[in-house]
Symmetry: C2
Subunit: 471 residues, 2 copies
């Protein structure tokens, strides 16, 4: 392939502003923020409009050039990176960042794929609405990437994953045709719901260029609490007690293992131990209501008092100010960052039925300790969704390099247990390059076959994001 010719044809499609030449920018778009995926694009385009995306796709379709869509490059599975060897055209949606419409009366906004998540949250808030998707990278991830990976985040317990927040999509198909599915409808039963195919498809079926997104009423009362617990089983009891008492007001329930807080404190000097005494586990919960007078703090306090009385929690703090709430959540957001400082970390983003979370944590901990003495468990995550970020660190004091080769075996041990418990080896991060080798071990063959047939039906040339999701 003549790289000069590729760039010349693409320049035709996107104009000088849309062809990326700056080495620093190229490097940023080929370098993931976590882990390391060798990546080298054939060319990088950054179109400014759907018509330009369409033109790029059409050219790639005619020429047989693979096309890799990228949003904010905040993914952790390598799904949005070009493969090594300079074979792929990388298409960044970041210049497509217009809020096309804010229909507060319909509780819907239409945003282009490159809009930054935090900007959309702010745009909704400015209209007294709430866009509930919220995750650590919200300052740099794009809504297109959130949709392509069906992002989860901390509010999924109450509001669902990204999938539940999409009313319609605009998608450029592999051959360059545009599907205008930007519907602002809450009900539409006119055949297969194609948007759900593109949501979570990791760029393997087409390029999402815009989305119609549902807005919710803005919560006007909020309460955050952190409790200390003996075990994940106690966290589950606490969750059930809260869910019973708080019902629709419970928006988040996060499980945190003690070591996560210790590591965070070690590397973030300003961070204080949240409770007077260290506890083996913690649960961080939040409730919200559109009713200012909902008295959420009284209700959580009552739950907490009852749980303390029953010996179901060890200690706790209920935030009495917005600043206290924010501090608790800031600590939560530091956890993912924390273990980067601890040497090697084997990461797993798994889900099991909610009732099986304690079983999973017990079994995985035992199996790993038996096989790799000294291995440290570093678990946190969305227990309300059954979604645990189950990470493992090398034994204290041992060199990370010695442990690196153990990754496949650690993955196997953890994922086999997840699978036996009816769980998923990727709850919210997706498959990308990271898990595509493992997926066939856990997915029923008939399901893999259906996925391949759909891929072949909608992307017959295999042009969209090759080397991701599928083997």
């Amino acid at each position: 392939m003549d790289a000069e010719r590729v760039r010349a044809r693409l320049l035709e499609a996107v104009g000088p502003k849309g062809l990326v030449n700056d080495p620093a920018q190229l490097r940023a778009m080929s370098t993931p923020w976590r882990d390391s995926w060798p990546s080298e694009p054939l060319a990088v385009v950054m179109p400014g409009a759907t018509a330009e995306v369409s033109a790029v796709a059409r050219i790639c379709h005619e020429e047989g050039w693979p096309l890799v869509p990228q949003g904010g490059n905040t993914g952790v599975t390598g799904a949005g990176l070009s493969r090594p060897g300079g074979r792929d055209v990388l298409i960044s949606l970041k210049r497509m960042n217009r809020l096309r419409s804010m229909d507060a009366g319909d509780d819907i906004m239409v945003a282009e794929a490159g809009c930054i998540l935090a900007d959309l949250q702010a745009a909704a808030a400015a209209q007294e609405r709430f866009f509930p998707m919220s995750l650590g990278s919200q300052g740099s991830c794009t809504i297109g990437g959130n949709i392509a990976t069906n992002a989860g985040g901390i509010n999924a317990l109450r509001y669902g994953t990204m999938r539940q927040l999409v009313s319609g999509l605009e998608v450029v198909l592999p051959d360059g045709r545009v599907w205008d599915g930007l519907r602002k409808l809450r009900k539409d039963n006119t055949g297969y719901d194609l948007k759900h195919l593109f949501i979570g498809s990791e760029g393997t079926l087409g390029i999402i260029t815009a989305a119609a997104l549902f807005l919710s009423p803005r919560p006007r009362a909020r309460c955050t609490a952190l409790v200390g617990l003996e075990s994940p089983a106690m966290a589950l009891r606490w969750l059930r007690r809260l869910r019973h008492a708080m019902g629709e007001h419970l928006t988040a329930c996060e499980l945190i293992e003690r070591i996560c807080i210790e590591v965070a404190m070690r590397h973030q000097p300003g961070l204080r131990d949240p409770l007077a005494q260290p506890c083996p586990w913690y649960a961080l919960v939040e409730a919200g209501s559109c009713d200012e007078a909902a008295a959420l703090d009284e209700r959580i306090t009552a739950c907490f008092a009852a749980a303390l009385e029953a010996g179901e929690v060890l200690d706790g703090v209920i935030a009495t100010s917005l600043a206290q709430s924010d501090a608790l959540w800031a600590m939560r957001e530091m956890l993912a960052e924390g273990h980067r400082h601890e040497g090697i970390s084997f990461k797993h983003d798994v889900s099991v039925p909610v009732s099986q979370v304690p079983v999973f944590i017990d079994q995985a901990g035992e199996a790993l300790a038996a096989r790799f003495p000294g291995i440290r468990q570093f678990a946190f995550g969305h227990i309300g969704d059954g979604n645990i970020h189950y990470n493992s660190l090398q034994a204290a004091g041992e060199p990370a390099a010695d442990w690196a080769p153990r990754l496949p075996e650690v993955n196997r041990i953890v994922h086999d247990i997840v699978h036996r418990l009816g769980g998923s080896i990727s709850a919210e991060h997706g498959i990308g390059q990271l898990r595509r080798q493992e997926l066939p071990r856990y997915k029923p063959a008939v399901e893999l076959e259906m996925q391949q047939r759909i891929k072949a039906a909608l992307d017959p040339l295999g042009q969209m994001n090759p080397g991701k999701l599928f083997l």
Copy 2:
């Protein structure tokens, strides 16, 4: 095709209990409750287990016999009926009616496709949980049919359509293989989400045999109110006021035109006019909360007082007892039945963006009156979802037979307006046989093509429910 041979082979698969011979039963399964679709099956089977469904599908696959799945036969588009001419094997799921598991701890139950919706509501309630799907036919419709048609109903405003309530599916594929996708997971990002393809596919891709279903906390407080209004635009203002004040507690908002209540009273002698003076339009709203002390009635009363003061409602009644609530909803459930007594009715189950409901009702009313003087508008439905059951009756006193030939033109007028407003010609009932001729006029060609490609990918022989959904 030798019908004897067909029946002999099917008998092998399902045993004597699974082959339907009783003429009354055969008639019931070939006769829709509304409208009339000529229907005559080649044979009717009623398997008792997934393995039997699988065997039936395999035989049909080998023999090239079309297969038509049926649930409670409560659909209104002819999607669950065999075609005339005795060509189709009708497969009823009604004997598959086991609740396989009730996992209250996970807030999930696993039900076979033939379970009656009302039975599942009751099973959830017995565990202090809530299964929110609720519609007029709940005493006879099956959960499999609800899923295959992505049912909507009155609680969709708060809980979403059927799609939002499904955690996993078990599906028998056209070739008889079983896809076990019965996951009890709230997050699973491991490739295309196939369950969303089968949900709403109207039996054209496979046979849903069981589903894992999400349960919600059971509401412990409830308040129902009916207000009288001047116009749909006022209903929208009332909805927005409520949504602002009640937020997540608002579960339903139904619009009702005066004529609907008049017709219902004419044919239901026990029914009383709900307000002292007749009003042109009504809105029936419900709020629910898991918090017993939520004081929903006080909050709705305050909204009502403010709206009355602002001249935004004409009159109203707030139910002060469960019996009063139930009576208001019973009236609502009579509406669909009401217009059957009034001669001919041209029915439309449409949706538009919520803000466009008044525009749609105005425009459709004007256009129809201009073309067919005297035509009566009979509109009610889920205004909170933008979903209106927009029906038209022949001019008062005129013979229905004279009006029958006008159906295609009435459909065209109504659906063209819906389409111009960005709406859907089938909000919750589906396409089936009823709308398949019209769909290509309104669906983008590229979307129809994708749907056909998916159909061909998953049902390459075109064996599943031919003559439905597609042209």
